[in-house]
C-alpha cells in the first residue's frame, strides 16, 4: 500500500471526497471499537481507513429548540455526562452507556454502533423508539432518513459507498414523555445483548398513553420497530391487559436465530418480558418528571 492508507479529514466534505476518490476498499473509523476488532481478526483488510474523529460537526451535542443533534462520532461516555440530554432521553442514554466497558465507552459512538450493522446493537432500538433521524452526507449531498432505514442486515447498511453518517437528531418531544431501554445479558456487564427492548411513550394528565413506540434488538436481522406493540399501549394506563397485548405483539414480530448467545425460544420469550418492564419504566418516567 504505497499511497496513503490512513487519513484524518478535518471536514465532512474532505471525508466524502476521500471516500469517493478511493480506488480500493475503505473503512470509516469513529470510535474504532468495532473496526479495530475486525482489523485484528483479519475479517476486513481495507486499503483506506478514514478517521472521522477530527471533524467538528461529528463531535459533540447541540440542542436546537428542544431537539438534540448528536455528532455521529461523539463517544458514548460524553453523552452519559450530558445532563440535559440524559434528563430528556434517559432511555437513549441508558442504551448508549451500556455499550461495552467504561474503556469502550470512552471511544464507542452512536454512529459506529449504528453503521457497524449489528442486529444486537444496544443504541439502535432506543434511537428507533425515540423516532430519531439520521443526518447523512455524501457525493449526492446531504439527506435525512429515520434511523430504522439505515440498518440493512447483519453488517450491512443502506448508506451508499461514499456516504457518511454526520449526526443523529432526537426530535423535540411533548411534555409527559418518557423512554427506557433494557437488555438481557448473562453477566451484569461486557456482553452483547441476547435481547434488547426499547419503549418511548407520552401520556396525558391522567397518565393515559397518547403515543408509544416499541423497538427490539437481536430478534431479527436488523433492529425492529414493532408498530402493533406501540399501538397496544395507546389509550391505556399500562394495565395488565394492555401490557399482555403489547407483549403478544412483540413476540409475534420476533424472527430471531439460534446462536452462541441465545435460542429462538429464549429470545422470543424474554423480548416480551423486557418490553413489558421497559414500558412500565418509561410510563413511570413520563408521569413523574415528564420532559423537563
Amino acid at each position: 500500500m504505497s499511497e496513503q492508507d490512513y487519513v484524518e479529514p478535518a471536514t465532512v466534505g474532505a471525508a466524502v471526497a476521500a471516500l469517493a476518490a478511493a480506488r480500493g476498499s475503505t473503512r470509516l473509523l469513529a470510535g474504532g471499537t468495532d473496526v479495530l476488532v475486525q482489523l485484528r481478526s483479519g475479517r476486513v483488510r481495507p486499503d483506506l481507513i478514514v478517521n472521522l474523529r477530527r471533524i467538528p460537526e461529528l463531535a459533540g451535542v447541540r440542542s436546537e429548540d428542544g431537539a438534540f443533534v448528536i455528532g455521529a462520532a461523539t463517544p458514548c461516555a460524553v453523552l452519559g455526562e450530558h445532563a440535559a440530554l440524559a434528563r430528556a432521553w434517559p432511555g437513549v442514554i441508558e442504551a448508549a452507556t451500556l455499550i461495552g466497558s467504561k474503556q469502550v465507552q470512552g471511544r464507542a459512538s452512536l454512529g459506529g454502533n449504528l453503521c457497524n450493522g449489528s442486529p444486537a446493537a444496544d443504541s439502535v432500538p432506543a434511537l428507533i423508539a425515540a423516532g430519531a433521524v439520521a443526518l447523512i452526507d455524501g457525493p449526492a449531498g446531504r439527506r435525512e432518513c429515520p434511523i430504522e432505514a439505515v440498518p440493512a442486515g447483519p453488517g450491512r447498511t443502506t448508506l451508499a459507498p461514499a456516504e457518511i453518517l454526520v449526526a443523529i437528531r432526537l426530535p423535540a418531544r411533548p411534555v409527559r414523555s418518557g423512554d427506557a431501554y433494557l437488555r438481557l445479558i448473562p453477566r451484569t456487564e461486557m456482553d452483547i445483548a441476547v435481547v434488547g427492548a426499547a419503549v418511548n411513550l407520552t401520556v396525558d394528565a391522567a397518565g393515559v398513553v397518547t403515543a408509544a413506540r416499541v423497538a427490539l434488538g437481536a430478534v431479527a436481522p436488523t433492529a425492529l420497530r414493532v408498530d402493533a406493540a406501540g399501538a397496544a399501549l395507546v389509550g391505556s394506563t399500562l394495565d395488565a391487559a394492555a401490557i399482555e397485548r403489547m407483549q403478544a405483539a412483540v413476540r409475534a414480530a420476533c424472527r430471531p436465530i439460534d446462536d452462541k448467545r441465545g435460542t429462538i425460544a429464549y429470545r422470543t420469550q424474554v423480548a416480551g418480558v423486557l418490553a413489558g418492564r421497559a414500558a412500565r419504566i418509561a410510563h413511570q418516567r413520563a408521569t413523574q418528571g415528564g420532559q423537563a
Binding site: L184, R187, T188, E189, V194, K260, R261, G262, Y266, V270
Partner: protein, 760 residues
C-alpha cells in the same frame, strides 16, 4: 469481614501469620515486572503458528516453499523439523502425558486432531510479514468425521482419533481400538451388600462442559539458539525446569544445553504446566540463529491450549434414614481432548474423599475427542466429580429432611479414618470447617422471594515433591531467599516470611527471588498447591543450616562450645555465664564472615513427604429472576482447613480466586462448537468469565486448628481446594431458590428459564 482465626501469635511466631507487603510487589504495580511477552532482545524475530481449520483430518502435504521465499521470513518449521520421539511418560502437573503426544501437540504429525491444532510455524522480521507468510503456506488435508461429546466419543461406531489406541486398565486386553484410552476403578468394601442394606437409594446423572483456566496472560516465550549449541529460553510458565525438560526431549537436546529464565507469569491455574510454543520457537531460532518471540493471541489460547475436561458424573448413594451413607457408586466419563491424559484418575479418588463410606466404587473413563489436549485446571478432576457428588448429597438431604450440613457432618471423615482412595487421614479439620459455616451469620440470615442458599464441600490431596532453595546472607546482615518455583500468587512473600522467621529477622531484611535453571537446584513445577509446603520446607531447612553455621561462628568467636550458643531474635547468645560476652547479631557475624570461614549461605534440595490434604466448605446465596432465568450471587462465604496460614491475605486470595472461577464454571462459562467442530466463542466476549460487577465480596474463614506437623510452620496446600465446592454450592442454591434441580452446567439464563417453564 474476613474471620481469619489464625493461631500464629498464640505460638510466639513473629513473622509467619502476619500480612507484610510482598518483596516483589512494587514492580507489579508500577508496570516494571517483565512477563513473557515483555522480553525484548536485539534482532528479535516474531514467530506465528499456522493452525488447522479442521477438527479432524489427515495431513497429506504441507508446502512451505512460497513462505520461505517471502522477503523478511527467516525460518519455517513443521513436525519434520522435530525428531521422532518415543512414548515415555512426562511429569506434567496432573495431566500425565507422553513425550510423543506433547511433541505432536506442538506441531501436528500426520493428523490434526482439533480445530486450532498447530501445523507449521514461521519466524519473520515483523508480525505483518509473519502473518502473510502463514497465508503462503498451503496444507492439503483429507477431512475426517470428528467427535467432541464424551459419550459420543465412547460409542463403538465413533470416529477413531488413533487407530493404535487400546483401552488400558481392562482385562483381558481389548483387541479393537477405541477412543477410551483408560478405565480406572477405585473400590472399597462390597457395594452390592451396601446398597442391599440401604433404606434410601438416590441416583443422579450430572453433566459439566469444558471450561478454560482463563489466565489473562496469553502463552508467551522468547527462544534464542546459540551457535555453540547452548540455547536460552525466557518464558511465562508454572515450572521452567519442566519447560527445559520437555524442550530437550522434544528436540532431542541435552538438558545442560538449554537455560530457561522464568519471566513473571500472568496466571496459570495448571494450564501452564506444559509446552505449546517453547519447542517451536527454539526450533525456529536454531534455523536462523536469531531470537524468536512467540505470543499466542487470545483466540489461539482458546483454540489450542488445554482447558479441563467436560464430564458426565453418574452418582448412586445408599443411605440409612438417620443419614448414614452406607454405599456409593460413581461413574466418571471425562474428555481428554486430542491425546490421552484427562484428570479422571484424580477425580475418581477425590470424588468421595470427604466422606467415610464403607462400601464404594468409583469407575473412571479417560476418553479422547477432537478438542485441544486437556491440561490441569486447579484440583484437576475434583470440581467435576464434586459437582455430581455434592449435588446428589444435597438431594439426599432433602429426601431425608436433614440439614445439608448435619448430613455432611454425620458422614464426614475424621482424623485416623481411611479415605476411599486408601490412605488414612492424620491431622484434618473437615468437621470444624463444616461447623464454621453452620455457625456463620450467613447460614441463618433471612432470604427473600426467588432467593436460595446452597452449601457444598470439597477436598484436594495437595502434594509435596522435589524442591530446592538457597539462603544467602549479605555482609550487612540481610538475606536473600532463592527458589526455582515461579511465583503466581505471592509465594515469594511466604518464602521470605518463613526464612525471616527462622533467621529471627524482620521481614524487611529478607528478599526473595526466582532463579533460572542454572542458578538453583531442580524443582518440580508450581502446582498441586505444593510450593508453600514443599519449597517452603527447603527454605526453612536452608535457613536452619545458616543458623547452625552462625552459632558455630559465634562459638568460634567466643571460644566456647557450639552447644553453648543459643540463637534468638536474629542474634547469638552465649549460655556460658563465665563468658561475659555481648550477643552477636546476624549483622555482626555477617560483617566478619571472612574471619569465621567465608561467605554465609546454604542450599537445600529435598523431596518433601507428608503433604496434608485440604478441605473446603462453602455457602452461597443466589437470587433468580423467574422471568428471564438470570442468576445473581448475593452472598458467598468460604471456609477452609488450611493447616496454618503463612501469609493470611494471600491464603484468603486463593479462596476468593477459586470461588470466582467456580462461580463462572457454574453459571456462564462454556465452549460453543459448530457442526464442523470449530469453536464459536474463542474470546473473552463470548466465553463469559465473571466480571467485578457480577460478584459480591467473598468472605473467608481460615481454619487453623489442625496444623500439618510435617511442615516446620504447619502449612498445608491451599490453592486448589477452593475451586472444588462452588459448582454444587451454586447449583444447590438455585434449587432452593426455584425448586428446579439443574444437573447440567452451566446454569445459563436460557437453560434455567427452559427448566423453570418445565421443558428442563
Amino acid at each position: 469481614m474476613n474471620d481469619a482465626t489464625h493461631a500464629a501469635n498464640a505460638t510466639g511466631l513473629k513473622v509467619v501469620g502476619q500480612r507484610p507487603i510482598r518483596p516483589d510487589g512494587a514492580d507489579k504495580v508500577t508496570g516494571r515486572a517483565v512477563f513473557g511477552a515483555d522480553v525484548h532482545l536485539p534482532g528479535m524475530l516474531i514467530g506465528r503458528v499456522k493452525r488447522s481449520p479442521h477438527a479432524h483430518a489427515r495431513i497429506l502435504r504441507i508446502d512451505t516453499s512460497a513462505a520461505r521465499a517471502l522477503p523478511g521470513v527467516k525460518a519455517v518449521v513443521t513436525s519434520d523439523d522435530f525428531p521422532r520421539v518415543g512414548s515415555e511418560a512426562l511429569e506434567q502437573g496432573e495431566g500425565s502425558a507422553t513425550l510423543v503426544d506433547v511433541a505432536d501437540n506442538c506441531l501436528a504429525r500426520g493428523k490434526v486432531l482439533y480445530a486450532g491444532h498447530a501445523v507449521a510455524a514461521v519466524a519473520a522480521v515483523s508480525s505483518e510479514i509473519a502473518e502473510r507468510a502463514l497465508d503462503l503456506i498451503t496444507v492439503e488435508y483429507e477431512v475426517l468425521p470428528h467427535v467432541i461429546d464424551v459419550e459420543a466419543a465412547m460409542a463403538p461406531d465413533a470416529p477413531l482419533l488413533n487407530e493404535r489406541l487400546f483401552t488400558a486398565g481392562v482385562t483381558p486386553r481389548p483387541t479393537t481400538p477405541s477412543n477410551i484410552a483408560q478405565k480406572t476403578v477405585v473400590a472399597r468394601g462390597d457395594v452390592a451388600k451396601g446398597f442391599a442394606a440401604a433404606e434410601v437409594v438416590h441416583e443422579g446423572r450430572y453433566v459439566t462442559v469444558p471450561v478454560h483456566q482463563g489466565y489473562i496472560e496469553p502463552h508467551a516465550c522468547v527462544a534464542w539458539a546459540g551457535a555453540d549449541g547452548q540455547h536460552q529460553i525466557w518464558c511465562s510458565s508454572q515450572g521452567h525446569f519442566a519447560v527445559r525438560a520437555m524442550c530437550a526431549k522434544v528436540l532431542g537436546l541435552e538438558l545442560r544445553d538449554i537455560r530457561v529464565y522464568p519471566a513473571e507469569i500472568g496466571g496459570g491455574f495448571g494450564g501452564k504446566t506444559t509446552v505449546y510454543l517453547e519447542p517451536v520457537a527454539l526450533a525456529l531460532s536454531r534455523q536462523c540463529g536469531r531470537p524468536v518471540r512467540m505470543v499466542m493471541s487470545r483466540e489461539e489460547v482458546f483454540l489450542a491450549s488445554g482447558p479441563t475436561s467436560g464430564g458426565v458424573v453418574e452418582v448412586r448413594l445408599g443411605a440409612m434414614k438417620d443419614g448414614t451413607i452406607v454405599a456409593a457408586e460413581v461413574t466418571l466419563k471425562f474428555q481428554a481432548g486430542a491425546f490421552p491424559g484427562s484428570p479422571v484418575g484424580a477425580g475418581s479418588m477425590a470424588a468421595l474423599a470427604c466422606y467415610a463410606i464403607e462400601h464404594a466404587v468409583v469407575t473412571g473413563y479417560d476418553v479422547v475427542c477432537n478438542r485441544p489436549k486437556v491440561a490441569a485446571y486447579r484440583a484437576p478432576g475434583a470440581p467435576i466429580a464434586a459437582f455430581g457428588v455434592e449435588s446428589a448429597i444435597d438431594e439426599l438431604a432433602v429426601i431425608l429432611g436433614m440439614d445439608p450440613i448435619d448430613l455432611r457432618i454425620r458422614n464426614a471423615v475424621k482424623p485416623g479414618m481411611k479415605a476411599v482412595y486408601g490412605a488414612s487421614f492424620r491431622e484434618i479439620a473437615f468437621v470444624e470447617t463444616l461447623q464454621a459455616i453452620q455457625a456463620h451469620p450467613q447460614y441463618r440470615a433471612p432470604l427473600g422471594p426467588n432467593q436460595g442458599r446452597g452449601v457444598a464441600a470439597g477436598f484436594w490431596f495437595n502434594i509435596g515433591g522435589e524442591s530446592s532453595a538457597a539462603v544467602h546472607v549479605d555482609e550487612d546482615g540481610g538475606a536473600t531467599v532463592i527458589t526455582s518455583n515461579p511465583d503466581i500468587g505471592g509465594s515469594r512473600a511466604s518464602m521470605a516470611m518463613m526464612a525471616a522467621e527462622t533467621l529471627g529477622l524482620p521481614i524487611e531484611r529478607v528478599r526473595a527471588t526466582i532463579a533460572d535453571t542454572t542458578a538453583i537446584g531442580f524443582s518440580a513445577l508450581t502446582g498441586g498447591s505444593r510450593v508453600t509446603f514443599a519449597t517452603g520446607m527447603a527454605v526453612v531447612q536452608a535457613a536452619q543450616r545458616v543458623v547452625q553455621d552462625l552459632k558455630r561462628r559465634a562459638a568460634l568467636t567466643w571460644e566456647c562450645e557450639a552447644d553453648q550458643v543459643e540463637w534468638r531474635d536474629g542474634a547469638a547468645y552465649c549460655t556460658d555465664a563465665s563468658k561475659e560476652v555481648a550477643p552477636l547479631s546476624l549483622r555482626d557475624l555477617a560483617s566478619r564472615s571472612a574471619r569465621t570461614g567465608g561467605p554465609i549461605s546454604a542450599e537445600v534440595s529435598l523431596n518433601a513427604q507428608g503433604a496434608g490434604p485440604g478441605f473446603g466448605v462453602h455457602v452461597c446465596d443466589v437470587e433468580v429472576d423467574p422471568e428471564t432465568g438470570r442468576t445473581t450471587v448475593l452472598r458467598y462465604t468460604a471456609a477452609q482447613d488450611v493447616g496454618r496460614a503463612i501469609h493470611p491475605a494471600y491464603v484468603e486470595g486463593q479462596l476468593q480466586g477459586g470461588v470466582a472461577q467456580g462461580i463462572g464454571w457454574a453459571l456462564n462459562e462454556e465452549y460453543v462448537y459448530d457442526a464442523k467442530g470449530v469453536l464459536q466463542n474463542p474470546g473473552f466476549l463470548d466465553y463469559r468469565m465473571p466480571v467485578a460487577s457480577d460478584l459480591p465480596m467473598i468472605d473467608t474463614i481460615l481454619i487453623e486448628s489442625a496444623p500439618n506437623p510435617r511442615h516446620p510452620y504447619g502449612a498445608k496446600g491451599v490453592g486448589e481446594v477452593p475451586i472444588v465446592p462452588p459448582l454444587a454450592a451454586v447449583a444447590n442454591a438455585v434449587q432452593r431458590a426455584t425448586g428446579v434441580r439443574m444437573r447440567a452446567l452451566p446454569i445459563s439464563p436460557p437453560r434455567l428459564l427452559a427448566a423453570l417453564d418445565g421443558e428442563g
